[in-house]
Each structure stands twice: as C-alpha cells, then as structure tokens.
C-alpha cells in the first residue's frame, strides 16, 4: 500500500500520496519539500506527474527489494557525482583518515547497539545469528582476528594519534545527528526496517557494486599495496574490503525475505531512504573532521562541488 515517504501515512493510491505532498508543499512544509528536492524533483510539477514519479521511484520493477535498495544506494553515493567522501578516499591524506577514525569510532559503537535492538525484537533465529556474528566481527573480534573497531583504533595510532586522545574525542554534531537517526529507527521501527537501514550501509564497501553500475570503489584498492600508507591503515581497509560484500549481500537477502513475509516492503523502502540521508550527513562529518585537522580539505571539497555544478 502506498505511503507518504516522509510522515508515513498510508493511502490507497499514489495520486492520494501526491495530493497530500502537494498540499503540504504549498504550505511550505520543509520536511516534505526537502524530500522532494533530495529524492525526486526540484521543479514543481502537477499532482498527476508527481504521482507517476513517486510510483516509479518506489517500483521494484520485478527485481526484488534487495536490488531496489542496491540501485538507490548507487544513485545516492556512486553515480556520476559520487559522494565527496568517496572521492576523498581514492587518495586519502592523513587528515581524511583521522577524520575516519575519530567519527567512525562513534558510528561503530552505535552500530552494535542498534544491531542489538534487531536481535531483541526479532523472533527469527537466522536473523539473530547473523546479527550476533556481525556484532562479534565489528566489536569483539572473530576467530583470532581483531575486531573492526580495534583495527580502526590501530589505524588512528599508526597516524600518530594516541588511543586516549581518540577515545576522548566527542562526535561532531552531524555524526551525532546521524547516530540519533539510526538509534531512533532501532527503537521505534520494526526489526526488518532497522536491519535494512543498517546493513544497506555496508554496501558502501561492497566490491560487487561496480558490476551494478557504481563508478568507483569505496577507496582505491591500490592503497592496499601502497608503501605510502602505514600497515595498520591497510589492515583496516582490507577488512572492510573483504568482509562487506558478504555482510551486505546476506543481510539484504534476509531483509527481502522477511519484508515480503511480514508485508513491510514499502515501510522498509521509506526507512532506508531516511537512513541513506543520515549516512550522507555522517560521511560529510568525516570530511568536516578532516577540515579541522587540515583546512586544505575544505579546498578539496569546494573543488569537488564546483566541478559537479560547473
């Protein structure tokens, strides 16, 4: 059943959804207008056209929910205008990598807490098992390997920052805002929506995205062999490079299966888009942290924006 992607009121058809959004846009309601601007169309259009665009946007095209999520992720982060953080990661300097460490520690600490909400809410053992393993890999360590969290901190140390200094750095407001979005999703939404919102983000490092149309990989894989970067940087990046393809793929299969079974496909779609916006904000926060360490990163960002809109 179609629903408003912003306030999530359900309607009988897309024309009714479009009519609702149109009415609110006329009243300058900012959250609905922002959603239109970010996802659909910045030029005002008729109710009929808007209904068609909404229907097309949410249409699974017979390819399933997992594929829809992957396509939307690529459009947002890996299209002709890749997210600036992805560009910065093609040849990251010390500031960009430290921005990663300082903000991502908060992302990961929140990550495992939100995954625990999925476990608390689900009655499916395959889901609980998947999440427990993910928590172990990310936070505890798995089969004699250090956790991603530990590898992240070691990356920070290899770049000259003390462990205590890393731990005592508070998240930037944008990181905190994004974290609160995911926390809210975990606390107020169904476990299927939460699972989709979190694990779809692991697509960012999924190597297979290139075969689905992504313009580049999360980072330039030649970094893994480069002498320019400390071993701890390569160890951290390699873990994500090798793990997230499996992580995202398996999770999205579970999301697709259970969202159909529990009749939650449309709910999952609108929540995933909200999660993507939080993720974009969070990725920019990492660059914002980098700017605080090295102001030349602002010039890089400005250069990217100017090139995209020239």
């Amino acid at each position: 059943m179609p629903l408003c992607p912003i306030c999530e009121i359900k309607y009988d058809d897309w024309v009714s959804v479009a009519n609702h959004i149109h009415e609110l846009a006329k009243k300058n309601e900012s959250s609905h207008i922002m959603w239109l601007n970010r996802n659909l169309e910045t030029r005002e259009t008729s109710v009929r056209n808007l209904a068609d665009k909404l229907e097309t946007f949410f249409d699974l095209k017979g390819k399933g929910l997992a594929n829809w999520i992957r396509e939307k992720f690529i459009q947002k982060f890996y299209s002709d205008k890749p997210h600036p953080l992805i560009l910065a990661m093609q040849k990251p300097n010390r500031a960009v990598l430290l921005g990663y460490v300082l903000e991502h520690q908060h992302f990961l600490r929140n990550w495992v807490r939100v995954l625990s909400l999925i476990i608390a809410k689900t009655d499916k053992d395959d889901v609980a098992r998947y999440e427990l393993e993910n928590i172990a890999v990310e936070f505890l360590g798995w089969r004699d390997k250090p956790s991603h969290y530990e590898l992240l901190i070691r990356m920070g140390e290899s770049l000259g920052m003390k462990r205590d200094e890393i731990f005592s750095t508070k998240p930037l407001p944008s990181t905190l805002s994004a974290i609160n979005t995911w926390k809210r999703i975990g606390e107020t939404k169904t476990w299927v929506e939460t699972m989709a919102s979190m694990h779809s983000l692991e697509l960012v490092a999924d190597r297979s995205l290139r075969t689905y149309g992504a313009k580049m990989h999360y980072f330039n894989p030649s970094i893994l062999e480069s002498e320019e970067y400390p071993q701890a940087v390569k160890d951290f990046l390699r873990e994500g490079y090798e793990a997230d393809e499996y992580h995202a793929e398996e999770a999205l299969e579970l999301v697709e299966k259970y969202s159909e079974e529990l009749n939650l496909v449309e709910q999952v779609q609108v929540t995933v888009i909200k999660s993507f916006d939080a993720f974009s904000k969070y990725l920019l926060a990492r660059l914002e942290r980098a700017i605080l360490i090295d102001s030349s990163v602002a010039k890089f960002l400005g250069g990217v924006v100017n090139e995209y809109y020239s």
Binding site: N28, N37, G302, Y309
Partner: protein, 109 residues
C-alpha cells in the same frame, strides 16, 4: 543582488529558491532589501545565516552577487562578489539551519 544557484538565476517564484533552486513551496523574505523566494523557511534561514557570516567574516556592507553551488549531499560553495572583491567559501549547515562549516577556499581576486 544577483543570485545564481547551480548555474541558474534564482530568487523568484519562477526561477527557484534563492538557496537550493527548487520551485516547490511559496515562502518569501526580504533580505538585503530584496524580496526573495524560498521553497521553505528552512532554506530562508540557511540563506540569511550564510550571507550574514560572509559579511561578518569579510567586513562587507553590500553584496552585489552571490553564486551558490552544491546541495545537501555535497555541502555548498558560496562565491560572494562585493565591488571588486570576490570571496569563495565552502559551507555546511546543521540540522537547525545554523552554520556548521564556513571555510574560505579561494583568496579574493
């Protein structure tokens, strides 16, 4: 004050919001002596904060032209022309529409 958003002239109902270029909504505010169109009050707030910050940083009294590029996903560049001076900044806003990042990225020409 001329306003260009992502390559298009903006600031009126037909041309688009003075901050983001959108033609949704119907919100007006008088800024720098000009009645400007915005898609919502949030964009208007961000626009005012951005202009005020540029004026404060550079001690400007008047602005002849601004050019904005970018969006929510990339952050924005702001090119401000005042007399024969030109300044360019990278700008990001927080959830309340306040300035979060405001870095000068090119020296005045």
């Amino acid at each position: 004050m001329n306003i260009i958003v992502n390559g298009r002239i903006a600031g009126s109902r037909d041309l688009g919001c003075a901050l983001c270029g959108s033609t949704w909504g119907n919100y007006y505010e008088e800024i720098e002596g000009q009645k400007l169109f915005f898609c919502c009050d949030f964009c208007a707030k961000e626009f005012k904060n951005m202009i005020n910050e540029a004026k404060k940083r550079k001690g400007l009294t008047t602005i002849d032209e601004i050019e904005i590029k970018g969006n929510f996903y990339t952050g924005r560049t702001l090119r401000v022309k005042s007399g024969d001076k030109v300044y360019t900044f990278y700008v990001r806003f927080n959830d309340e529409g306040e300035i979060e990042v405001f870095n000068e990225i090119y020296k005045s020409q």
